[in-house]
Assembly symmetry: C2
Homo-oligomer: 341 residues x 2
Amino acid sequence: MANIREVAEKAGVSVATVSRVLNHPETVSSGTKELVRLKMKELEYTPNNLARGLALNKTYSIALLIPNILNPLYPEVAKGVEDVAHSHGYNLLLCNTEENPEKERAYLHLLSNRSVDGCIVTSSLLSYRELMEIQGDALPLALIGRPREAEGVHCVFTDFTEGGYLAVQYLIEQGYTRIAHISGPEKLPESRDKLAGYRKALKQHGLPLEDTLVLEGDNEVEGGYLAAKRFIQAGHLPEAIFAANDLMAMGALDVLKSSGVGVPEEVALVGYDNIRMSSLVEPKLTTIANPVYKMGLIAARLLFDSLNRPQDQFDQEIYLKPKLVVRKSCGHEDRIREIFS
Amino acid sequence: MANIREVAEKAGVSVATVSRVLNHPETVSSGTKELVRLKMKELEYTPNNLARGLALNKTYSIALLIPNILNPLYPEVAKGVEDVAHSHGYNLLLCNTEENPEKERAYLHLLSNRSVDGCIVTSSLLSYRELMEIQGDALPLALIGRPREAEGVHCVFTDFTEGGYLAVQYLIEQGYTRIAHISGPEKLPESRDKLAGYRKALKQHGLPLEDTLVLEGDNEVEGGYLAAKRFIQAGHLPEAIFAANDLMAMGALDVLKSSGVGVPEEVALVGYDNIRMSSLVEPKLTTIANPVYKMGLIAARLLFDSLNRPQDQFDQEIYLKPKLVVRKSCGHEDRIREIFS
DNA sequence: CTGAAAGCGCTAACAA
DNA sequence: TTGTTAGCGCTTTCAG
């Protein structure tokens, strides 16, 4: 692995000149420039990023913290971030926090030692206070999934309360009144938000809030499965279920169908996220679109804006609207038919 | 951001001593050790990884190259790799090559400049010759998904030919004779292998190879959808379809069902990979288990073995067997019933 | 337009 | 047990 000194020697110039053709080629006479480039080719020279980073105080990499890479939502975020990072010549560090605030904290501390130039955190489990503390002006930060509550960070988010509201309101419009909710883990802010949206919709339409109709799941297929099973075993099925994500909706769907409960005939179902699989189950899932790819893209762009122009930095707050995606699982077509028959 | 010099000054010792308490604490008297640690805390000192890496010629990170993070297979690999990397205190660079040999090549070149200490490549599109060239003894490499054809790389793989063979043989055992195959992109070695397995099984049972029964897909849901649609439009449906991955199987399933073709009653279906969703569609998919998480885990372990003990390095070849997972989509239960009735 | 030299923060001989 | 010092490979003043 050749280094800059060897190139300089072979080309009969100083290392400074070699460095210049790399970083400020316009300041080098075209003759020596050619020569140096030739020698670089010959020696298969490529600059050592570590050394470069040390001199410039840059790492040319950013980190992405996600809670769970096996949740199909996050690879989409990662794709968005990677697309932007790669186009800037940056590497992407993947940090899987396993929904563990300890691991998130550990990662963030690790990264704050100039291991990366910036950091994108999705669905953080830490408080703003702690995030800002760790950041310490040193680590440009972009948060995905949370509204902004502090200066100096970019935030890209959707309103989960609104999303939950949209889902439940749609169910109510379809004529359902006894609507259950399978929530995500209570420790996640977004779970609480979706629950709030659920409650808001019910309240607004004068429907009662029954505690027995809300079950906490784990945002995994299994959690949806178990929750729906409990509804079945309780003997008194709700007319509709709003699951806090598509994975749980699919778990619920699975157990409902295998228990002989018709979806949407007997129980209507709405999910959240609009993951790709939601249109491949039977019946296809009505859900709330969660524009995660776009959020990854935007968060990364904001981050690079900060990296490239730290001076005129305005931290931004970008809000993307959740959107209802109507498919069969909540009886849309049946209802239409009823209306016209 | 405090550096080692500041810590040394505050503690009234030399930087060497501070470095020692970090790297060889047993060589420092407990008194000064305490003191230094105290000052580190006070200054919130954390070593600069770049500088450390430069001095040691180490980066404390490894890279994972995957063809497509949106394919649910690869997040599983990534999880396996991340689990191991994190336990070693290493960072993981995620490189999404988009099934583009150019991008793969570019990434590999980028990484070979000591950007990472080692590299795991899944489903590489490059030739062994090229891989070895890029590696240039400098970058410890572990390959996932390919048997070993060269010295100096670890390989973890399953035999896709065997997998394809298992799938089709099972279909034949169920009594199907007119069996179609929706293959993956021909450029992928594994696609060719699965096709070979398909052919081998047919031949072995004296069944004819009909060109019209093999359609190339893109390993995406859409490709399966389109291929199955063509079978339908051809008017003469096969009795069974072996799709080269579960995503395509799901695409096929979707169009079959919506065209009123019963699965498995009219057409049996087998996929490949056993992704989580394969047990959530209706009917649940018979498929070939692809132990990708395990492969990620093993590849990462082999890589770290090399990193930690470069001297006694024996590059290994680990072979995991593909396994048939029987579910409803190829009519297992019906057949059983026939036998007993 | 080019070179000499300092320095980025850290580690590891080598001395003491 | 500790300090001194020479790098690791690169960038960038500052002179020329």
